[in-house]
Every structure is written in C-alpha cells, then in structure tokens.
Symmetry: C2
Subunit: 130 residues, 2 copies
Amino acid sequence: MGDATETEYASACAAVSDSDSRAIRAVLDRIGDKWSLLVIGELSHGVRRFTGLLRGIPGISQRMLTLTLRQLERDGLVTRTVHAEVPPRVEYELTPVGETLIPHAIALAHWAVEHYPSIETSRASFDAGS
Amino acid sequence: MGDATETEYASACAAVSDSDSRAIRAVLDRIGDKWSLLVIGELSHGVRRFTGLLRGIPGISQRMLTLTLRQLERDGLVTRTVHAEVPPRVEYELTPVGETLIPHAIALAHWAVEHYPSIETSRASFDAGS
DNA sequence: CTGTATCCCATACGATACTG
DNA sequence: CAGTATCGTATGGGATACAG
C-alpha cells in the first residue's frame, strides 16, 4: 500500500483543480454524512428490506434511514423496488455504480480499525499535554 | 479495482461487528467532515503554511481551517511546528500515519470525478420524475 | 502572519406520534 | 411493514472583528 505516493500523488492532485473540486465536494457531502457509508456497507451484502437495514445499523433512526436511502436513490447508488403485497415489502439494492463504492468503504473501514488505537493514544496525550 | 468483491467483502464485513464500529464511526466523523480530507489533500504536497492552506482550499474560512488543523493534530495525523520569527511562521505537515490516508483520499477523489456525471444525471431524472 | 473571540444561522439529527 | 409529519435540540460552520 506504500509504493505509489509521490508520483501518483502529484498527478492525482494536479487533476484536482477547479471543476473537479465540485465533484469531490458533492461526493464528500454524500458519503461523508453520518449514515450513507454504513447503509452502503449493509447493502453490500445484497438485497435488504427496510426493517432489515434498521436492525443491521445500530443507532440509526427510522427517519434518518428513510432520508439516507432517498438520497442514495436520488444519486443512482441504490434502487428501491416496491412489491404490491400485504404487508408491503420494499427491497433496497446497490446499483452497479453503488457497488463500485464497496472497495473504498472496505478500505476505509480497514484503515479505521487499524489506526484507531494510534488516534486514541494521540488524543489522550494531546488532551493531557498543554 | 474489481477483482476482490464477494470474498473480500464477506471477511471485511464480518470484522465489523461491535467494537470496530466505534472506530469506524470515529474515523468517519473526522475524515467525513467538510474540510479534513481537503486539508490532507493539500498537505500531501508537503509542508504548508497556514496562509498557503487558506489559499489552496477555496471556500474554507480561517476559523474552520484552524479547527480542522487542531483536530488533525490532536488525532496525530498532522504536526504543527512554530518557528520563533517575526512575522511568525507556522508549518503544517502530515505525520507518517496521516500519509497512509493519502491513497484513500486519492481513490475517493478519482471515484468522485469519475462518477459525478452519472450522479448528476441521476439526480436530474429523479427530481424530474415524480 | 497566524491565529482567537463572538455572534448567528442553517440544518443535520433524534424522539415521538401517526398512517396506508 | 414501511414509511410520513412534526417538533425540538445540538452543532457545524460562516462572517466579522480583534490580538500577539
């Protein structure tokens, strides 16, 4: 993971000039919110129903799950299919575009788990020292 | 980028059970905010001064740059060195841990630039249709 | 130059209750 | 089951002014 830094970095940052920053801002605003990435993580398992997602994502409220799913649907990352039954059944699934986010979600999750101890330690000493 | 999905995914999600979710939440709260990833992107070029960052990140306010840098410093992702001169010179630099975030930042930036057109199109049709 | 302090607003989010 | 509606709070974040 540490073979392409300087060179790769320069070209990547050169590409981030003006109009691209809008795209980055927009994407960051979406996947950077409190629940989107966790919802995508749940959906990476496959098709899920509303209540299933609610139970699979501890701490999320009905309201926020609804809002998050609507945003993801609007952005074309998730599909919502309603089955005309009683009781109603609504299934959510990642679109092909949405699935391309999975590797990044996994990578970030790995990074978080790997470096969180270091972060906690740093926070403790920062808060202790002046 | 599309070779490890199903298997890789299963093991990754299995690892995300209880205590890891705290780490993911904590990291997401930090790098998911409005400016951290952009600051890290600027610092990936190398050492930067306060004003340099302010100019390099369009739209950020003095206040938010200060707050963001303090958080990153607290988390041990950025170092802050003050040079005793007049006028004062303060330099910010990524720590080794902070540098490990660069590949992920680059990956997300690439994803954003690549898929943003699709997202915009999807939003337009979503907003148009009922 | 590199911040800090204060004010203020928009909105993200949670809790709760209600509906087809 | 799968939402919507309403309310209230917390806080993220901008603008501006001031300071070492």
